[in-house]
Amino acid sequence: MAPFSRQCAPSLALAAALMLVQLANPVAAEIKNEHKVKAAIVYKLLRYISWPDPASSSDTIRLCVDSNDPYYTAFSDLDGRHVRDQKIVLKVLPEPVVVDACHIAFTSAERDRTANSLIAQAGKGVLTVSDSSQFAEHGGMINLLVENNRVRFKINPQAAYKSDLRINSSLLRLAEVVETDSKPSKTAINLHVDSGAFE
């Protein structure tokens, strides 16, 4: 007991000192883990998406995010990274929404209105991504979700095909597949089985 009390005394003192120090030593704001993980997932799933020509032959992938979007900082980590031999370039999503110049347009749930205009605006060859509720069911393509503290996603392949985007089937296996304004399809249930009990 005695030797341990002596050993612990310095750490207690240290802890107390540190608590005083921290009042005078602010730390830079951190990006939420959720934002980072969602951004990383978007980065990862890009390699499963094929764009129609001429986008597919372009040497850049233009990722558009509203500069006021809370996710903008997290997505800035993608800027300059490569997917296969294409470089990701982060662009500011214009207001009002014009998506013509984007390969991917992201908007977060905090900006629900943008999400709706994203769906309305998206033309050929623009991959729409949002974490807004029911985004995929309303016609968005990739819908990030948080469930049990884990990020997962729904995909609306129908919407993607309409835009001439190709989604690799191994990505669909990881997703919940939905159709526009419908309940989860039978496929979705079967796909869940794949990631079921066996590991």
Partner: protein
Amino acid sequence: MRFLWGAISAHMLRTLVGTVCCVTSAQALCSSMAFDDLADLSLEELMSIDISTVDEKAHNALSQASAGYTITRQAIQRSGRRSIPEILRMAPGVHVGRVDNNKWAVSLRGFNGRFSNKYLVLLDGRSMYSRSLPGINWQQIDTIIEDIDRIDIIRGPGASLWGSNAVNGVINIVTRSARETQGLLLALSSGSSTDSETLFRYGTTLGNSTHLRVYGKHVELDAFEDVNGRSAHDENRRTLIGFRSDRQTNDKSSLTISAEYSQSHPDELFASVNFDELALQVMPTTNRITTHHVLTHWTTRLTEKNQIGLQLYYDREERDTALQVLERETIDFDFKQHLTLGNRHSWVWGFGYRVSHDELSNTNLLTAYPNNLSVKVAQAFVQDEIQVTSNISVLLGAKIEDNSFSNIEVQPSLKLSVDTGQAHHSWASVSKAVRTPTRVGTQVRIDIPSLLLEPGTALNAFPLPLLAELAGNDSLESEQLLAYELGHKWQPSSTFYIDLALFYNDYKKLNGTEFSGLLCQPGNTLFADDPSCLGTARFLETPLMFNNSVSGNTSGGELVLYRQFTDHLESEFNASYISYDLESTSIGFLNELADVRNPKLLANLKLSYQASERWNLDLWFRHVGKIEGFGPLGNGFASYTALDLRAALQFNKFLQFEFAAANLTDADHLEESSELGEVESQPIPRTLRATIKILF
């Protein structure tokens, strides 16, 4: 209450331990979760990262400065074991001893016994600790093994968050959400003479955001053979059935509703006192335990920095066993809120109330006074995690609790966590925890069959048989612990890590007993008052009154070494050591004997080999040190090293075969005994088992 830092998968842990605290804990605790590290992960791994909300955050922060260990789903599957105590054997600092076929002794950081009582077990947020009986009843802790997401184990006090009785640790069993358990699973398992299990689980989707699973299982355990090759009459039949639904609304709220019913028949060879013949009688006894519960859990994110969680459950158990005839109902309510204030403060606070009503009937060995009791526990806690600099954080927390047995208890904790760079992480903590008195200890008398002493022997010089009984003492106080802990984690690469934890536990007011007089029976005459009562008495009785006479310390540590040799071969070694220095100020029974009732050394070595896409092979060596025993009053047990093997074949997407062998090298060793000596320890046999799992 779903907690712990290992909320990520095993593989994740291994690839990411350098940044593990960043991934798993609140942003405040770690400098940052580097995007580079995330970018190196696969999509599946990213989808398994826990981004933490209310419950988890509180827990993650705490466990950053605690000795935590997670048994992952993969480790559970690859253990080949089909009961929770057996799975717990792999964790450092956890001693698991099987008394007979259906009785277990489990403890963290010492003080083991069938009635060990200095830790908590939570199963999906439900406390499995009983104040009606001492401690944890492992006979009632079971679920579908395939649906367990992870078992989080914190060694050392967790009382500032979980409240009293989280003295030497917390075992938190978390099952998967209904969404993660979709489809039909059927499993059939049959073992060499010892057990068979049949289970089903069906998971389905109800509408857009609601998932449901229903499940059931039936286990039959045949009796062990005793040391003379006769039936030990310790067979068990166990059936459980239940459901769980998870509903996710607008990505911000989730609602879980679950319910379960179980019935088991853990029979035994029960030793008690035959008062007609004044002799020990051992009889095969048929027991019955039924339980059911309903639980609902709701969490919502009000804003990004403000999350709340509510939980409510009702739990009922009926035990009709030779030792205890008990009916108990519990209602528990908990509220929690997590608030991030500014950049540095991460607050968690909450409160809860539990009321438990029991009816404890008298049995051959046990007399309760009163027979009916309501136990009420009101609690509140607050915890602040302060990010002092980018790599130093301090956690301050305390729980205040008002309970029927010991009134107000305050259990604070101070923890310091430092990222020392280069994948090094150090922590230190000082925490207080108490174990509150229970029915046994305050309001129950129990005869101790192993202490029926024949006349004229070394232990009983009187001319009459002498029987000892444990006697409750209603002024018994809480046992107190002040724990000092230090730890260090180092992961120089994704394929290697070391995790070391050291502890010094300073205990005060531990339960002991004191011989309080000698009574001539029948007649209840105090021998000291009237020595002539010996002439008319049939036997002598000595009450061993519970007291708080034991104090002292334990010290020791646990080491975990992980190494991944290739993509297909990984290994883990862990070892635990504890030494005891306890003394008692009174003369009684079992007073300072924790050191002779427990092994000092425990070790595990596991090797996992993925031989091909379809074949997995696992080897597991387990070593348990010698239990000294205490002469004529309690057996010791030799140390043993057992080898378990498992081979699994994933035949196709729908079909898996598993072959598991346990105790290959050391069949028929004895592991643990019950403190009261009401059941015999039985030799644990070698078992071979085949399991087939079908998934659609």
